[in-house]
Amino acid sequence: MEIFLQQIINGLVQGSVYALVALGYTMVYGILGLINFAHGEVVMVGAMLALSALTAMIGWGLSPLLALPLSLILAMAGCMLLGYGIERIAYRPLRHAPRLAPLITAIGVSIVLQNLAMMIWGREYHAFPQLIANQSHHIAGAIINDIQIIIIIMALVIMLALMAVVHRTRLGRAMRAVAENQHAAQLMGVDVNRVISVTFMLGSALAAIAGLMVSVNYGLAHYYMGFLLGLKAFTAAVLGGIGNLRGAMLGGLLLGLIESLGAGYIGDLTGGFMGSQYQDVFAFFVLIAVLVFRPSGLLGERLAERA
């Protein structure tokens, strides 16, 4: 029972991160019908930027409680700029090209970003400074620490805020209109390019937050961390129904739970033959299962036909 509860907690924490990253995939897909495979690298850049900013600020003697939010804001700003740039350089020129073309530039951007990050920050794992007293709490035998609580609450608040933006504001309305029918939106005076840019920037800001969350939680950052995380978040978006915001949140949390419960019990289930190192297998097993049995995802509707 303790193991069960513990894995639920771990799953929720990991799932919150997946959900935030999955939102970035799903927003871009909803508007452009494009999988932004460079999105995982944006998460990594967010983590690295935050780490650098944090190290510098601590060096100047800033209090961690001030440095942490400041570096988060810096990382978000940097990632928004990056997301904007990626769309401008790699996707916009190919807006009317066959669908395969932007997929290939996405992979290209991804490789470029990884290598740039490797040149800037090196190949080694960076330890994330332990900044706040990270107290552990015991609930019914399971342990949850402050950072994990903050991650879950923060992710929840951000997701609610995003839903409010999309469903209650002028900007969100424009995003939904562009997603449904670019031509009609344009004829109603909506600047489609601007809406697309803003969508990339919003997604990238969420990625930066997720990047910082992962690094703080595991105490590590690495130039290659975006690859697997990105793929899993993509899986989460597909699981929930790509293009659907609620789906991305649900998919993210579910995937986190599946992974963590799977990793917790696989040892018992296979009589010790497989251990928790097989954790990653679950995500991709889910991806295959969804693609085979329910390609539109849990909350996905039949894709709207495009003119």
């Binding site: 504001t169 002028r170 309305r173 939904r176 009609a184 109603m188 005076g189 909506v190 489609v192 919003l202």
Partner: protein, 255 residues
């Protein structure tokens, strides 16, 4: 009367086909202007040129005192041209009210900052925008279903919603692509009343229509296209008598 829209020698090619061949016409401010022609005459092409969906290959485009070299749809929309579609293109999964509010988009300001912080200016603007949208819905006769998703409205309501959405952009020129298509006689009659109302508010109306009787009864002036060329333009009675028009519709003997 001054010309609101003036096209001079406009051409549009699709491969080897000249969909529009040196078309020159002007639409006066405050009139209801009809565009007719046999199938494939280039009506919709001309329509798409006027609303910026197609860039013109040659000729001049003059609207509201300004020449346009590039005619991007959102720029023309901002300049004051709004349109509806022959096959309805609403935002199906947005409510009727939201559809109209999208029309208000370019007349409102709130950006990313407003969306994130919901400051007072943003909230006031949003409320005003919703109020105006509700007004427009009432104006076109959609009273009860403002919170209904556009895809669940009746066909007639969807057509009216498209008009409300177009009006929300505060156009000088409202371009309607076969607004009466699929309507029954009663609906057509009330559409006629609505269009007269709209014109009375100072909006210039232009429409493509297959229903020649409707056009002749509604429009101040009519233009006739055939094979991408303008073959007649004038008041309905003149156009009706025009031999070229009769030939285009009925076929001529000496071909």
């Amino acid at each position: 009367m001054t010309a609101l829209l003036e096209l001079t020698g406009v051409g549009k090619q699709f491969g080897g086909l000249a969909a529009l061949n040196r078309v020159s016409l002007h639409i006066n401010a405050g009139e209801i202007y009809g565009l007719i022609g046999p199938n494939g005459a280039g009506k919709t092409t001309l329509f798409n040129v006027i609303t910026g969906l197609y860039q013109l290959d040659s000729g001049k485009f003059h609207f509201a005192g300004q020449d346009y070299q590039s005619t991007m749809p959102h720029l023309l929309a901002q300049a004051g041209i709004a349109r509806t579609f022959q096959n309805i293109r609403l935002f199906a999964n947005l409510t009727a009210l939201e559809n109209v509010m999208i029309g208000r988009h370019q007349r409102t300001q709130a950006g990313v900052f407003g969306a994130l912080f919901l400051n007072r200016a943003t909230r006031t603007e949003e409320r005003a925008s919703a109020d105006r949208a509700r007004e427009l819905l009432r104006y076109v006769g959609i009273t009860k279903s403002s919170q209904t998703l556009a895809k669940n409205l009746s066909y007639g309501e969807q057509r009216r919603l498209e008009i409300a959405r177009a009006l929300a952009t505060e156009p000088m020129l409202l371009a309607l692509d076969e607004p009466a298509a699929g309507m029954n006689a009663t609906e057509t009659e009330s559409l006629k009343v609505l269009l007269h109302d709209i014109r009375a508010t100072g909006v210039t109306v232009m429409l493509i229509e297959h229903d020649v009787k409707l056009i002749m009864g509604l429009c101040d002036r009519v233009a006739v296209l055939d094979y991408g060329r303008l073959i007649a333009e004038g008041v309905p009675d003149e156009v009706r008598q025009n031999p070229a028009v009769i030939a285009a519709y009925l076929g001529s003997d000496n071909e």
